[in-house]
């Protein structure tokens, strides 16, 4: 059955990157970027290319990658957009610094995770005694921790079904892209806030963000923000 084969292929893809930070770090390595002088726009574009591919594969995990995309797009906007010199001198980290410290922070723990993995593999050859017949333990004993207590409480006092609820991406990127273009053709320009005002879900916001990035890459729109935290404007390029 071809569908099954497809599924397998997706799983391999998911395992390649356990999360958006690993993907981002992989891209930094692959492109040999200098962590202290990151080409923010380029890196974000690279990232977007990957998640677009993932979205096409309809990977379930794409949600986290989309949330990260929103963060990255915000950083990219701050990095690229012309900004009026700010009168107050309190130094805020630049988009470049923020992105770098995000990656460094993650990398610290990822390096440790790698060490742990090595130890775990070594540990696999260390065995303890196999059975303890002399203890005559009939009942399973557990460490009295809050998690075990919560599980017991849930057993008696919660009617919620145990199976996980799956929520899938239902907003189509290319559809959203066309919608934005139509909207801008009438008005020539719009505030970003306008474009996301119709619906309040995070997913809608993220897909809109990505659609705008795509349009800007295709040179169909231009993004402009006057200063940090001021409204982002979207102009149609004709």
């Amino acid at each position: 059955m071809p569908a099954k084969v497809e599924e397998k292929r997706f799983n391999i893809q998911i395992e390649d990157f356990e999360g958006p930070m690993e993907l981002l770090y992989y891209l930094v390595r692959k492109e040999e970027y200098d962590i202290y002088d990151l080409p923010v726009a380029e890196l974000v574009d690279q990232y977007m290319k990957y998640i677009k591919m993932m979205e096409e594969l309809e990977l379930e995990l794409v949600g986290d990658y989309l949330v990260m995309a929103a963060t990255l797009l915000e950083l990219k906007a701050r990095y690229l957009l012309p900004r009026e010199p700010h009168p107050d001198t309190t130094e805020q980290p630049t988009a470049q610094q923020e992105l770098a410290s995000m990656i460094i922070e993650y990398k610290k723990y990822h390096a440790l995770a790698h060490k742990l993995e090595t130890r775990m593999i070594q540990e696999e050859l260390n065995y303890q005694r196999g059975e303890f017949p002399e203890l005559e333990i009939k009942e399973k004993m557990v460490e009295p921790n809050l998690w075990e207590l919560i599980k017991s409480i849930r057993k008696y006092f919660s009617s919620t079904p145990e199976f996980p609820v799956k929520i899938r991406a239902e907003i189509d990127l290319s559809e959203r892209l066309t919608e934005i273009l139509f909207y801008l053709r009438e008005r020539k320009k719009a505030k970003f806030r306008e474009l996301i005002s119709q619906r309040s879900e995070l997913q809608f916001l993220v897909v809109t963000f990505i659609a705008l990035l795509e349009l800007s890459r295709m040179k169909k729109v231009r993004l402009l923000q006057r200063r940090n935290f001021s409204p982002i404007w979207v102009f149609l390029i004709e």
Binding site: E134, K140, E143, L149, I150, S152, Y156, F157
Partner: protein, 188 residues
């Protein structure tokens, strides 16, 4: 050969989750059953000479490492004193008392559908629950959790136990890619 095969047989028995047949060991180590049995005898002689507290016992058609009987009481008493662990049944009863306290044994047993005398007794002994009075109508003891209960589970007070809403949210753990509404509680 003989020098290597002895610790190997010991290793197989040491790590076995159940009695192992001599024949299986022989096949795996490419030797005969009688040699395996002979080495097991040698190991037992070693253990006796060296004053080890265990031996290899022939049981259920196979061989297994066993503690010598004379250490049985010492060891069982040691592990009985081990209060760091609770049975699932004990946790269940603690959960019911924590949520419904003060509560009678009857109510506990109605919820659990199992008799609870022994466990209630143990929990009282461990100081995790206490008797706080008697129920008006039936004159039955009312049980409640103690300070030690809070300490054991790392709680400041009972209000830190999950609310009904929290319990329900927890059941959806794998669906939280997108929160249903943007509420501040997301990601706590």
């Amino acid at each position: 050969m003989g020098k290597k095969i002895k610790p190997e047989i010991e290793a197989l028995l040491f790590s076995a989750p159940e009695p192992v047949q001599a024949q299986r060991i022989a096949r795996y180590l490419k030797t005969t059953e009688s040699e395996v049995k002979q080495i097991i005898n040698e190991l037992n002689e070693d253990y006796a000479n060296e004053g080890r507290s265990f031996y290899i016992r022939e049981i259920a058609g196979g061989y297994q490492l066993y503690l010598k009987g004379e250490y049985g009481i010492l060891v069982r008493e040691f592990h009985r004193l081990e209060k760091r662990r609770l049975s699932k049944g004990a946790l269940d009863i603690l959960a019911i008392i924590a949520v419904k306290q003060p509560v009678t044994k009857r109510v506990i047993e109605l919820i659990r559908r199992a008799s609870s005398d022994r466990i209630l007794h143990n929990l009282l002994e461990l100081g995790l629950i206490k008797i706080v009075g008697k129920s008006q109508g039936t004159n039955a003891y009312l049980y409640a959790t103690t300070e030690k209960f809070l300490q054991t589970f790392g709680l400041k007070d009972l209000s830190e136990l999950p609310s009904k809403e929290e319990l329900e949210r927890m059941a959806e753990y794998s669906g939280e890619l997108f929160p249903k509404k943007k509420d501040e509680n997301y990601e706590q």
